[in-house]
Structures are given as structure tokens and as C-alpha cells.
Subunit: 344 residues, 2 copies
Amino acid sequence: MTFTCPAPIAAKDKVLLGHGSGGKLSAELMRELFLPAFANPVLSRLEDQAVLEIGGGRLAFTTDSFVVKPLFFRGGDIGSLAVHGTVNDLAMGGAQPRALSAAFILEEGFPLADLRRVVDSMAQAAKRAGVSIVTGDTKVVERGSGDGVYINTAGIGVVADGVNLSAAHARPGDAVILSGAIGDHGAAILTQREGLELEGALESDSAPLNGLVEAVLAATREVRAMRDPTRGGLASALNEIAAQSGVGIALREEAIAVHAPVRGACEVLGLDPLYVANEGKMIAIVPAEQADLVVRAMRQHPLGAEAAQIGTVGGQAGLVTMRTAFGTTRIVDMLAGDQLPRIC
Amino acid sequence: MTFTCPAPIAAKDKVLLGHGSGGKLSAELMRELFLPAFANPVLSRLEDQAVLEIGGGRLAFTTDSFVVKPLFFRGGDIGSLAVHGTVNDLAMGGAQPRALSAAFILEEGFPLADLRRVVDSMAQAAKRAGVSIVTGDTKVVERGSGDGVYINTAGIGVVADGVNLSAAHARPGDAVILSGAIGDHGAAILTQREGLELEGALESDSAPLNGLVEAVLAATREVRAMRDPTRGGLASALNEIAAQSGVGIALREEAIAVHAPVRGACEVLGLDPLYVANEGKMIAIVPAEQADLVVRAMRQHPLGAEAAQIGTVGGQAGLVTMRTAFGTTRIVDMLAGDQLPRIC
């Protein structure tokens, strides 16, 4: 099933959970509120990271807040997620992460032992990604004005030479490559939150993608766009690329891997894996003649072992379609609604 | 009165409001939890901004989350405060702010009209400070898991040539200069929160200090340290400098300006203005022979009209003392306790 129920009109003068979903309402907030107010050419590019010319070099700069619930989940916790999320946004801009900030909003009464566990996890994740946490901040709010801990990380990185990535650079005929199976993060969080016990190991894929990106860029610099399909899932990330590039994207369902436990969880929860968040997967749009090279480069990296070409750029501009296993074609719209709050 | 009551020992395994006060408990959290976990030489400098060598230049990088209550207050709101706070942390590192990120944690049900007001205020503040908001993020949490809106801003700036500032650089004999009267921000927030109606205009001093810093650095590059005395007030900022430089600091009470309405509010609320937050004031520690030059440069700028030398570096290492108007000398300790939550 897809999420196409629009939010009730009457509620539209207030913030809805769906405004944080990474789908249509998030995009609306961006387009109608943030973009007009903050108007500047860098923000208007709508990438997951800003690229700035500073001191003769190109610097990537990005930020994300993390409000995931529960704080500790199979495969990670809010701390490692906060490091991976920002490392990945930098990596998707072709940047080698150099430094992170970490800002904590703590709820009064939050156990210091849990905070220590989160902080240690951040430190380990940063070490694994080869990045330092160089500056930070701590605020405390009263009981009932927060939920344990919220973390913001911002990051800066140096963009590799000869790389010029943008969600607006996809061209008809390009290959759409995905680094692995989808839905692991969202399915792990949601089943844990709902208290579902399912067979098989269901674990977040939360991981730093900068090493995988390095492997791709070592193979070729001819990459049009990279995105990590987080909130809103693969469907929303591809819709953003289709919209910004003014192209269609045609997917083949059988090329998109979904691990069996994720498929099972999605069936129980009534979710479509295409809309479920990933935290350790990337999309690369590359010229067709680079496709094999990029898939091979990804597969040689532990985080890209299941990489595959999942589709092609083409078809009606702005539209993402998928040829299903049954041979029919369906439209893959952007996430609408608020079914998946606090997934990251 | 000063704040010297220690937190109850039994509560010390949980986060207390005082952990966010910018005083002793905040410092303890930094020293015992964050520093050991994130160990790296940049963070260990304990400045309000990290300075990184990137691409041959020096880049300042900083972050702050804002949880101020109420969201709208006399002299500003959470939006302008979030811009000024991060601009000022960059400026205190001698950096010209270049780009900000803005990340919002919204509570479900928050009126979009209020969000628009906050965002417009951020945009205006950024324009005034000459900085662009180039990247951002929005998360939404359920009703009762937030408090309207929390904002994180991170910022990057380019450090001016020939400037080498650090809270560890103060030397005996240096002059301690303050750009204006203290306590305006904290007094405005607290009286409004308590619903106190006091005579006289009580208004936050929230303002971008990068222009004032430029004026100082245009007069001389011989500046040891700059700090904006925000959470924890003038007392806490000077204690940090004294501790990090291993010097004493001797203040003269009559040189420290406090506006009459702030003095009145502090009397009613039982607060010492030395511990009350400022959001548009700066401390500069400079060699004695530069003192007049720096005070003059500040006074020529609208935000430094009341600048004065308020004391001298000297006395027992690590200790801040103040010669009072009555001719006695008191110790000015760091803020302890949790009397001023959510001031920024």
C-alpha cells in the first residue's frame, strides 16, 4: 500500500506529525515557509548538504536533528544514528567528512547512564567513520518538555575534486543503482516500538556510507547524483531526484532487494518497503556506461554487497514508475501522511 | 546572592536542569562525560567554537540548540536568538560568519503562524548579521514530547588572519574589557516568564556581535581572548577564562554597568546580575597597552557604546575576585545550581 491520504485541511494551520515525515508535507513546509524566508541560491538547490566555496576549496555543510524512538534499537541507537546520518549527508555530496558538532537537548530526569551509553556509541561511530566531534552544546528542558534525549549533529566535509553531484543532474538513459536491500532501519524501529516479535533477525542498517562513496568515486568520478533514502524511503528520494532533474524514473521491482524479515514486518504493519526508512543505503545515478563499474565497486565494499541496478532514468518527467513482478506498472508517488513519525 | 548550593547527591545519576545552566554542572558533564568519549585536541580546547585547518585556511565551526521559554520575548524571540547565538560564538573565535544551518524540532500542534513568525525573525537576523542559512532539517515530535519549537543552529566562519584567540591566552597584567551593561537578556526572559510587571524598559540585548568584533580587530589584532557571557553570565565566562589560562581576574564592581530595570528585576527575583545571561555582550582580554584602543573601538560601534575596562588579569590563579562598591573584596565563583533553566 502507498500513503496517499492527504492531511485533514482543518489541521493545516498546525504542525502535524507528517510535517516531519520526509514526504509531501515536509516538502510543502520547505517550499512554502523555509525557502521563501531564507532565500539564497545554496539552500534553493535542495540538496541534503550545502556546498560552499571557501578559501579556494569546496566545503560541504549539513545538519540533522534526531528524535528516534526508542532511543536504543536493534542495530544501533540515537547516538550512532546521529553520527551516521550526518556523515552520510556529507558523503552523498561527494564530501569526505572532516568534523561533526553534537548538540544535546536532555529531558530533566534522563538517566546519566543512558546518556553515557549514547555518547559512547557516538564516539565509536565517529571513530568508525573517521571523523572527529569537535564542538557541542547541551541544553536541559523540564520533565515532559522532551523525551529523554534529542541530538543534533552538523557536519563539514571537503568535496572531492572533479565531483559535481546534484539531484538535478539525472539525465534520461542514466542507470539507477541501489547499494543494498531496503527497509531495514524503519522495519526494525517500528516492530520494536509496536512490541512485535517477528521471526528472523530484524536490525537497523544504520552505518556510515563515506567509505562506500569513496569506493564509488575511486572507480569513476562520472556520477550524477547520490542520495541516501532515509525518511520517506526509496520512493521519496527517487521522487525528489525525478522532480529536481525534470526526468522520469522507471524501476524494476524484482531488482529491489527486501530482506525476508523486513518483508514480513511490512506485511504485518501494512507498510510498503519503498516508503520505509534506510540509514545505511545509497542511491547512485550514473551514466549507463558507468553502471557496471559502479555496481562492481559497491559490491567489493562490505556495505554494498547487495548493490544492483534497480532501474533507468526515463519516462514521463517527474514521475517514478515501477514494473512489478506481476508485469504491471504502478506509479510510485512521494510519501504522504504521517504514518512513520520519529523514525530518525 | 550567588548560587552555591550543590545539587542533591541522590539526584546525580539523572539529568538535572542545572546540567544545562552553563555553570558547574554543565562543566562537570563536559569534563566527565563528553570530553573523555569524544577525546580530540580541538574539542579539548574548550572554546565556544572549534577552529579547523581546512584547505590552507582556518575555519571556525560551532553549534547551539535553543530551548528558550517563552518563545517570544521583549527584544527578540527564539529565532533571532538562534541566529545571534551561533553568529556570536563564531565571532568570539575571531571568525567572520559565512553560513548557518537551522534544524527545527517541532511539537505536533504548534501553530504554523508562530513557526512562520520565528522563521521570518531568523531570516531578518541572518540578514542583519550578513550570513546565509544554507541547510536545514525539520523533525516533528508528538504533543507533550516537546515545547512548541526547539531550534539548533550550527555555523561556519573564516578566522581572520593574524588572530589567535583562546580562553587559555590571558596573561597577568592584561585588561578585561566588557562591551556594555550586563543581565538584560536573562532579566527580560525571567520577568516575562514570572509575569512580573516592572517599571522601565526591560528588553533582551540579543544582537549579532560580528560587527563589533570586526571593529575591535580593525583597531588591533593583539587580542588574547573573546567570550560572550551567555548562560551563567559574566561570572561563569570569566571563571572559564581564569581556569583555562591559569590566572586570576580582579574586577571592579563600579566599572560593571547594570541598567536600572535589570538591577530592579534582579532584586525582586533574588538574582545576582553577574550570573544573569547576556546575548549581545562580549568580553575581550587584551594586553594592557591595547585597552584604551579597544574600549574606544567598541564605543564607536552601536553595540559597544557602554564599553569599559572592568578589571585586570592578576591575583590567585583560577580565582575571580571583585572589589565591591563598599571597598570589600568578594570571590566571584562559577554558577552552581539550576536557578535559570531555558534562558537560551
